[in-house]
Symmetry: C2
Subunit: 277 residues, 2 copies
């Protein structure tokens, strides 16, 4: 694990690190905020998965999360959204390839070699963190924005017991029924749509649900509402009687101004779950 | 005044606007956060002047100021740091020309035509804001970072009665004695150093001081401490018996991680002055 930068922030440390990823077969960069409490022992962890076009850096600098995490004594992990670098496949479109990993393990060419973001986020990066850093991996929660909200919800439902709580800002809720999803799932997983279902939060909500609290915020003026399809997730959760708070926030759009406006409440929500018992 | 973007944020609006500047003889872009209270009447104003290389955007997205301003019902103005665009002079160095206006009125070529940031911030932009927006210009305060801290301090001391309070994050404190200053003051104002004194916070502190509270934060690990020279301002303020809180914050550097870590306290400090009487 190589240190790219470390800045003191809110009494703790905002670091950026590089490590070799087994799953993605390349170097990966991630951000990690450690609160002051990490000097004295292992602290709980909140994962923040980012959206299309983002690197590890966007949320780290624009989501205004560190102050609230410091107040709660929680670490924040900001992974990248795809493999990158020389020899890693890419596409001219902003919503495919680098910056658009969609949190799946690709099986199709030219993506299969490097685009294994599911394994990267659920196996590779957590083992590396556990070995090297004062994190209490029995206390994990996950959140994300847009494509990262999709990743957070699908991972939380697919890995029972891993995360105590899940939240999302403007998540892609139903990728199998949206242009933010059909294109990418087809490219990464192939045309057999039965393989796509494991990566659709609305379908997973119908099939499995989540054993813990869920918080979703969505802006009523989000310019991408038609692509996000929050209605499918809201409906599936209600049908399942899932414990969930699903809010449509009047006037907010898809930007980090929306994300940062509700960050305090999301971190307080996760803190309650992370510090329970 | 042309709207470039408006995003709902913390119950209010984060806008970006363009207008033609009389002083700079070009279009200028600025950010403005209006809290929800501005719908019902004029609100107090906190100016945030940015540092070298910044545009109006950096602090608007990275300083985490809007949430605290919303809580206090205060508007935030984020001006650009120089004139820009076709026909505006520039220099290859990051610390001269576009992005490095130093908050002075240039008298030397090739800068004199456009580089009049002192007049832009103290006359041009405030009149435009007063005419068009629900701002209470009898309740103004000013802050800034690095070169912007220099601007905030020099303007506050040079315009008695304009600002009720002044604060700064890692300000350039003594530009007439530093490579962050001598080069630019010479380029913009010429070699007669007597014209530089009006733009040196430490000299102004000795000569005039500020009729109100002053708050300065500085990181002990700031990589630019030798250029900022906080010791000259601290000494001048102490000699004058100026009302001031000057803090050296252990472990912090020059970045927005430092700025955002102390933003809550700076905005609370200004709110107290803005709402007095």
């Amino acid at each position: 694990m190589e240190i790219l930068s470390e800045n003191k922030a809110f009494g703790g440390t905002q670091g950026v690190y590089k490590h070799n990823s087994h799953s993605c077969r390349c170097d990966m960069t991630f951000g990690l905020f450690l609160p002051e409490e990490a000097q004295y022992g292992a602290v709980p962890v909140l994962w923040y998965l980012s959206g299309l076009t983002c690197t590890h850096e966007n949320a780290m600098t624009k989501a205004a999360a560190q102050g609230w995490a410091a107040e709660q004594g929680i670490a924040l992990v900001f992974p990248d959204t795809s493999p990158r670098g020389e020899g890693v496949a890419d596409d001219d479109a902003y919503d495919l390839g680098q910056g658009a990993g969609f949190y799946v393990n690709a099986t199709q060419e030219p993506w299969a070699k490097h685009f294994n973001m599911w394994d990267y986020i659920t196996e590779d990066l957590p083992s590396m963190l556990q070995e090297n850093l004062p994190l209490d991996m029995t206390r994990q929660a996950i959140t994300g924005h847009s494509m990262g909200g999709h990743g957070a919800l699908t991972m939380a439902m697919s890995l029972p017991g891993r995360f105590r709580s899940v939240s999302a800002f403007a998540p892609i809720c139903n990728p199998t029924g949206s242009d933010w999803g059909r294109k990418q799932l087809s490219a990464y997983l192939g045309d057999d749509e039965s393989t796509w279902a494991a990566h659709d939060a609305s379908l997973l909500m119908t099939e499995k649900g989540f054993d813990g609290p869920v918080l979703i915020d969505q802006g009523t003026e989000d310019q991408f509402l038609d692509l996000l399809r929050p209605e499918t997730l809201a409906s599936a959760a209600a049908l399942r009687r899932q414990e969930i708070t699903h809010r449509m926030q009047k006037g907010y759009d898809h930007s980090y101004f929306f994300v940062s406006s509700f960050m305090e409440e999301h971190i307080a929500f996760h803190a309650e779950a992370l510090y329970a018992d």
